[in-house]
């Protein structure tokens, strides 16, 4: 028995089992306590409420929503809203961060200074203050009658209006997915080693997939076009309000801008760190071989910097997705706000919080899993200490 305990493997398994048992006991105990307390307050516990209609409405939804819809559908709406805000916010933050990081690593003193001021300023103001700032900025814009125009954008205190497509929602979604695939698939084709041909010889295939995807997306849009209407529907003033076009609410605008700008400051630092991690030797080797500055950037420094950045970037993305919960501060119906209102309206606190936790876990574990895959696929092979 004693010698059995000494074996590393068996000891590990026993420790794991012990730990899992304790966790299970705590959870079951807590659950029974809670049920007992709730039933003494006449709250029916369980997930039956998911099929009841909510009786309240959401102010932003990509999916059809009405007060008659059941709770489970509202949770779906909340997750979709969170993902929508999160993905757009992360995209904006990544774009800004890439730019800021390049500024900070450039050899130009002015750009370096601008990058530093940007990072120092936006990183050191709490995100919630920035959300409030952008929200009050948007809601204090002139009324639609005196709206400001920025190219195709019309800014007013009702939100930001932009020209919309006269196309049904499902077709827009389908075209968006097609577009995404048309951009992602060529990237994969350019780098994967799963195909027999070497990457450089896949030029025709890559361009074919890209072009075909773009055409398909355009075709889907044209198919879903509302009959008899113009394809593009610009916003225009009618009476006291704007008609037509696509309205982006002040809440969504404020959150998107805040997450993009704040996240951009952090991602800028990650990008800078990534480039600093690239050995000077590799850059010198590239130069001594006669590669141009652009070639040594795109073939050597960027690919190596990306590898250094990705793990930290994944953390930052997970953090920023969680930041969408600030939606509740300005009244944007993200997942967290829907859960909060649900608790308030139905009293199903524990169940709603459990759903919230599972939802965020699922989102963030997916992000982590995607990044782990990418990391593994591009990890440098072999021992890196030597050069």
């Amino acid at each position: 028995m004693v010698s059995l305990l000494r074996q590393q493997k068996i000891r590990n398994i026993l420790l794991q089992a012990l730990f899992a048992g304790i966790v299970l006991l705590v959870v079951i105990g807590g659950w029974r306590n809670a049920q007992h307390a709730l039933s003494s307050q006449n709250v029916v516990s369980g997930f039956g409420f998911l099929h009841k209609s909510t009786g309240w409405d959401v102010n932003f939804s990509l999916l059809p929503a009405s007060p008659n819809d059941p709770y489970w559908w509202f949770f779906v709406i909340g997750i979709v809203n969170t993902l929508f805000l999160g993905i757009l916010g992360l995209t904006l933050a990544t774009f800004i961060g890439g730019l800021v990081g390049l500024f900070r690593t450039s050899s130009n003193d002015l750009l370096q200074l601008l990058g530093r001021i940007y990072v120092d300023f936006f990183r050191n103001i709490p995100l919630i203050l920035q959300v409030f700032f952008w929200y009050s900025l948007v809601t204090n814009l002139p009324a639609p009658r005196n709206a400001m125009e920025f190219g195709p954008l019309t800014l007013s205190n009702r939100g930001v209006y932009m020209p919309a497509l006269n196309v049904g929602g499902w077709h827009v979604a389908g075209a968006a997915v097609t577009l995404l695939l048309a951009l992602a698939l060529p990237l994969w084709l350019r780098t994967t080693r799963r195909l027999a041909s070497p990457p450089e010889q896949r030029g025709a295939l890559v361009w074919g997939v890209l072009g075909g995807g773009l055409l398909l997306a355009a075709a889907i849009l044209l198919l879903g076009r509302a009959p008899g209407a113009a394809l593009i529907d610009p916003p225009r003033l009618q009476g006291l309000n704007m008609r037509g076009g696509l309205r982006v609410s002040p809440e969504f605008t404020a959150l998107l801008v805040a997450i993009g700008i704040y996240g951009g400051a952090y991602i800028g630092e990650i990008v800078r760190g990534g480039f600093k991690a690239v050995g000077k030797g590799q850059t010198e080797a590239a130069h001594s071989l006669g590669l141009s500055p652009w070639q040594s950037f795109s073939r050597i420094r960027l690919p190596l910097a990306l590898r250094a950045m990705l793990p930290i970037l994944a953390n930052q993305y997970i953090w920023l997705i969680k930041a969408t919960t600030l939606g509740i501060a300005v009244g944007f119906t993200d997942f967290f706000m829907i859960v909060a209102v649900t608790i308030n309206q139905s009293g199903q606190t524990l169940e709603a919080i459990a759903i919230l936790m599972v939802g965020f876990l699922a989102i963030n574990l997916s992000i982590a899993a995607i990044f782990n895959r990418i990391n593994r696929a591009i990890a440098l092979k072999g021992n890196q200490l030597r050069s």
Binding site: G279, L289, G290, L291, K381
Partner: protein
């Protein structure tokens, strides 16, 4: 090697060249001519400016005054002439500086394909020839991190050769290697020396200098103190500083 330069043009000509790091005078009035096909070994104590001097030849460092002319083209701020010179001058570094995200073969074909616009098939065939020359064709599909130091340095030599440079610069190519790997790299370099390419090697391998050098240059404190054929250099050095240095590296 495209032989576009007349034979009487020196490979490298350095005239009254000075280099400063801030107030520190790193290279003092350097005067050096290396003829085409010549093998020159540069030695000297640490910090004497050997690396700085050969890095000025392909403009990894900028000189502050004087002239450097490589194969008839003067090195100045003109980007086109720098690019032209870098195409003709290969460099092998102390720490190999291979690209760790590319296979050995990709390391070798990258510059020929991007800079010389060589088609892939042709670039790969040439790369395999040079990998055979440095005796590691079987490692072509591996990544640098999967090779020993000596193997990595031989890949780095092959990578430079793939650009078919007129001139090869070596900056202490064996000093980061374990003793048992030094000879495999030196063997390759000795073999290269038989091929007519101009070679300028910073190294403390005096055996190598004896075997292949046409001339040995000794530097100290940013100056070229002595230059002589190897027999003269090792048997009857003229300067006190050279004698002292030789007694240290030769170990008696």
């Amino acid at each position: 090697m495209a032989d576009t330069h007349p034979a009487n043009v020196p490979a490298v000509q350095i005239n009254g060249m000075n280099k400063f790091y801030g107030h520190f005078h790193a290279l003092k009035n350097i005067q050096l001519t290396v003829h085409r096909g010549e093998k020159v070994v540069v030695c000297g104590p640490s910090g004497s400016g050997k690396s700085t001097m050969i890095r000025c030849i392909n403009r990894l460092e900028e000189h502050n005054s004087g002239q450097i002319t490589v194969l008839g083209t003067e090195l100045n701020d003109d980007v086109a002439s720098i690019d032209g010179i870098r195409r003709e001058v290969g460099m092998v570094f102390q720490h190999f500086n291979l690209f760790p995200h590319m296979t050995v073969l990709e390391n070798c074909v990258l510059a020929p394909m991007l800079v010389r616009k060589t088609p892939r098939a042709q670039a790969e065939a040439a790369a395999m020839r040079y990998l055979e020359k440095v005796r590691i064709p079987e490692q072509a599909q591996k990544y640098p991190g999967q090779l020993s130091g000596g193997q990595q340095q031989r890949v780095a030599i092959a990578r430079s050769l793939c650009m078919e440079p007129e001139i090869l610069l070596f900056d202490e190519p064996t000093s980061a290697l374990d003793p048992e790997m030094i000879s495999e790299v030196l063997d390759v370099m000795v073999h290269l020396a038989t091929e007519g390419r101009t070679m300028i090697c910073v190294t403390h391998e005096m055996g190598f200098a004896r075997r292949v050098a046409d001339r040995v240059i000794f530097m100290d404190a940013g100056e070229i103190v002595e230059e002589a054929p190897p027999e003269t250099f090792f048997q009857s050095p003229s300067s006190e500083r050279t004698k002292q240095f030789l007694s240290q590296v030769l170990g008696h």
